[in-house]
Each structure stands twice: as C-alpha cells, then as structure tokens.
Amino acid sequence: MNTQTQKVSGLDVAAIRQEFPILSEQVNGKPLVYLDNAATSQKPQCVIDTINHYYAAQNSNVHRGVHYLSQLATREYEGARDIIKKFLNAASDKEIIFTKGTTDAINLVAMSYGRKFIKEGDEIIISAMEHHANIVPWQMLCEQTGAVLRVIPMNDDGELLMEEYEKLLSPKTKIVAVAYVSNSLGTINPVHRIIELAHAQDVPVLIDGAQSAPHLKVDVRELDCDFYAFSGHKVCGPTGIGVLYGKQQWLEQMPPVQGGGDMIKVVTFEKTTYNDLPYKLEAGTPHIEGGIGLGRAIQYLESIGLDKIAAYEHELLEYATEVIGGIKGVRLIGTANQKASVLSFVIDDIHPHDIGTILDQEGIAVRAGHHCAQPVMKRFGVPATARASFAFYNTKEEIDALATALQKVIEVFG
C-alpha cells in the first residue's frame, strides 16, 4: 500500500479493501484489478450481510400485513428511504421514489412529467455527452408528442459550451436533462450554472446522477435541481434498485405511469383514488431487499465520507492521467478541467476490444466499447474507447499494473 496516498486523503485503503470480498479473487491466475467501477461498483461485506439477513430473518411483503414480519420489513424498507432522503438532503421522504435504477427513473419522468407538460413544438434540452439512458426516453417522448430534442454541444476536451446552452434555452424549453458526471469522458458538468440558467426561465432540470452519486456529495436543495436520478449498483448497493428524487411540487402534479397495488387508496370499477407520494409512483411489490441494501450501502459510504472518497479518487485520477496518459501512443478521450475518476483512452492502431482482452488476461477489468454513449464516440471520431474508472478501494499499484499491461498490449501489436 502506498503510504503517502493514505496520509494525504486519510483513507485506510488496505482496510477498506478487506471489506470487499471480491477484491481477493483471482482472475486468469492473477489478482483481480477491478477498474470498471463506472459500469458497476463492488459490494462491501456489510451490504451482502444486510441482504442475507433480510432473507434469513426479515422477509415479508411491505405496506400490507399487520403481522410482525411485515411491519419489520416495512420499517427496514422505509428506513432505507429515510437514509436516502438524508443522504440527498431532500425535504421529505415523499420526494424519494424507489425505481429500478437511473434508466427507470429518467423514463418515469419522461413518461409522467412528459405526458402532462410536454406537447408539440415544445423543446427538451439534453447534452452531447449523455448516456443513452438520458437520450432515448426523451427521443421517445418527442416521437409521441411532436416535441423537439435540442443538444448542448461540447468542445474537444469534453466540456459543454455554456454560451450555446444559453442560446438553446427559450420559452419553448420545457425541461433540461443533463448528467452531473459523464460516464464516457469523466467530465463534471457545471450543473449549478445549468440549473440557475434554466430556472431563470422557469424551466425544471433533471440531473442524471448515475456517475455523481458514487463520487460527489450532493445536496439536492442546495443544488436546487428538480429531479435527481441514480442507481444503487453504482454506489456499492445491489442491482435493480435506484432512486428518483423529485421536488414534491412536481411529483404531486405527475400522473402515475403504472397502476396496480400499493399505488392506490381506493379502487372501485368506476374510479380509483391514487395513493399519496411516494407510493403513487411505486406500483406493485417493490425491490425490498434492494432498497434495504441500498440504504446500507449509503450508510457505508457516509461512514467513510464522500469528501474523503472524492479527494482520494481525485488523487488516483491525477496519478493515472500522468502514468497512462504518458504512455507513447495513448490518447486520452475526455480532458476536461473538472473530471471525476474516469479515464477513457485509445491507443494508435489498436482497437479497444483487443486492449480489453489482453488486460483481462492480466486480471485487469476495464470497459471497452462505446459506453452507451455512441454520440460521444462519434463526436471524438473513435469507434470505441477503453475506459478505466476508479473507486476509493483502488490503489496506485493497480494503476501501475494497468500501465505495465498496456505496455504489453503495445508490444503484442508492435
């Protein structure tokens, strides 16, 4: 372990690594070097134990039974909602909607807010660096309503052109939806300014927080976003669970997109009265152990401290930028001034898929492909990139291992 690293950020990374059982696995006979954290994070023992314990001792349906287990499961599940509310500093539990993930959360807003407030000729603004999850739902809405999609362009470093954004904002704009952190470039977008400018014209803003939630402390009231979406599996929690935060004033006005159990108060064949928030937007038996596991994951991250995590990951990024960016033939894709710990790169004349395979043989997991951001690949004129993305449990030694393996890639293709 690099002692200097520990001193600067105050993280005991060796101890943290002990909490993630998967990090002691071997891959292809080599110790696993997991650098695909932007795709999904690994899970600490406490989250695994919480999920186990739920099924071993607490399993029951929620919001339904008078019996002991049902009340216990409900308390745990709603307790998780409260943890998330505090994590985001939302004003109320009513503003925390459980979803399947970021994709599901954005789709919910597009379908519900969209159906109610967006009509032909209206405009929706997204950015050039969005994940497909923050493009396609809006395109589908445009197809259904006749609204128009507008895209904030970016420069060659992967930074949004704010003057262009200002020009796009108009009385026709009905919503702005942008990522806080780009998954393919690592850019941290100036979301405060984006929100301020939109609000000056009374336009609500959805922030795709899939990549910011694991790295940056977000206070939704300070940020003043109208919606914030993130996925459990990227913050050390389980898959299949995520969160849509929405300001209550918006959520109250939004119609449910799914009907069923849990989201109703009274049902007759003539008329149904919908339940209150947040249940109005959560039809059916939820992902109970997912919610509870996510609550535990957030407690875990907070016990380490998001600020410390951000500082340490920034060190890793700077180190990797120097070491990997310094390799002859390597070109970094995404060189914004403000970046989270994502390093996308290409190597002259070597396809990212081949890089990925050779690294895999060395036990190193990176992502090779278009990262669900094909327009970004097109913007930079590459078919795909290799991407290393770092979490607080990664080390400089792992970045050295990546550098050594990349030298090997270059040798093979020499």
Partner: protein, 150 residues
C-alpha cells in the same frame, strides 16, 4: 487456460495490419452490411459474381484485430469459390470458433483458417471472429437485412 498467443498469432496480426481485399468494388453484384453492436465492429462486404462463382471480393469497415483479420482471411478464402462452397466453409468456421467442432479432426474446408481455433477460449471474441462469415453467409443467401451478431 486461454492463451493469448493462440488468439493473437502472427498471421492474424499481419492481416489486421495489412488486410487483404480492403477495397470497394467498382461493379459489385452483392453488397452486404454486418454489425457487431456490442463492440461497434462494422463491415461492408461486396462480392462480384460470375454466375455462381465469386470473381472478386472487397470489404471495408472498422473493427478489432480479430474481426479485421477474420474479414481479410475470409475474403481471401472465398475468392474463386461457389456459393455452396462458401456456405460449407462458413458453417465450419462458425462451429470452430464456438468450439463445436475440432478443426483438426472434424473439418474438411478450413485450411489456413484453422488459426482462428484459439478464439473459442475467448467467449467475448467469438462474435468478432464470426462477423465476416455471418456477413458472407447472408450475402450468398441473398438476405435483404444487415447482419447483426446480437
């Protein structure tokens, strides 16, 4: 265990660097597209037929070393062959990279293409090797749609 040297053999690396028949044809009889959506590999294959026989062949596109070398060697292998012969090679090639046949004992048509046998130990790369063969299959079968390996 999977062996990298089996995958990235010198011949494969050479074809990746200097692909054969990497060109557009002036008067193609058949043009067929193929995609591998997962990794973005893309091939445009053109065949100039003389009756049932491939008189000339060219491909363009972008992809990883495995898909490019496979395309290059595929074009070399199909030139001068009939549609039926091509179908037979394609069938064996795809079975080989999936590990469904042992090329040493169970193939009659593969010849030099056997160097792709190592791909079977890299499941994530089977689609890359198979793309050009799936594309030529569709071309000779007269498929109207672009090939997608998904």
């Amino acid at each position: 265990m999977a062996d990298l040297n089996e995958l990235y053999q010198q011949v494969i690396l050479d074809h990746n660097k200097k692909p054969r028949n990497f060109k557009a044809l002036e008067t193609p009889s058949i043009t067929q597209e193929g995609h591998n959506p997962l990794c973005g590999d893309h091939i445009t294959l053109q065949l100039e037929m003389d009756g049932d026989v491939v008189k000339d062949v060219g491909f363009q596109g972008s992809g990883c070393a495995i898909s490019k070398a496979s395309s290059s060697m595929m074009t070399a292998a199909v030139k001068g062959k009939t549609k039926a012969e091509i179908e037979a090679i394609a069938d064996e090639f795809i079975k080989m990279v999936r590990g469904e046949i042992d090329p040493e004992t169970e193939s009659n048509h593969l010849g030099r293409l056997k160097i792709f046998a190592g791909v079977k130990d890299f499941p994530a790369r089977v689609k890359c090797a198979a793309l050009s063969w799936r594309t030529v299959q569709a071309a000779v079968e007269g498929s109207p749609d672009a090939v997608s390996t998904e």
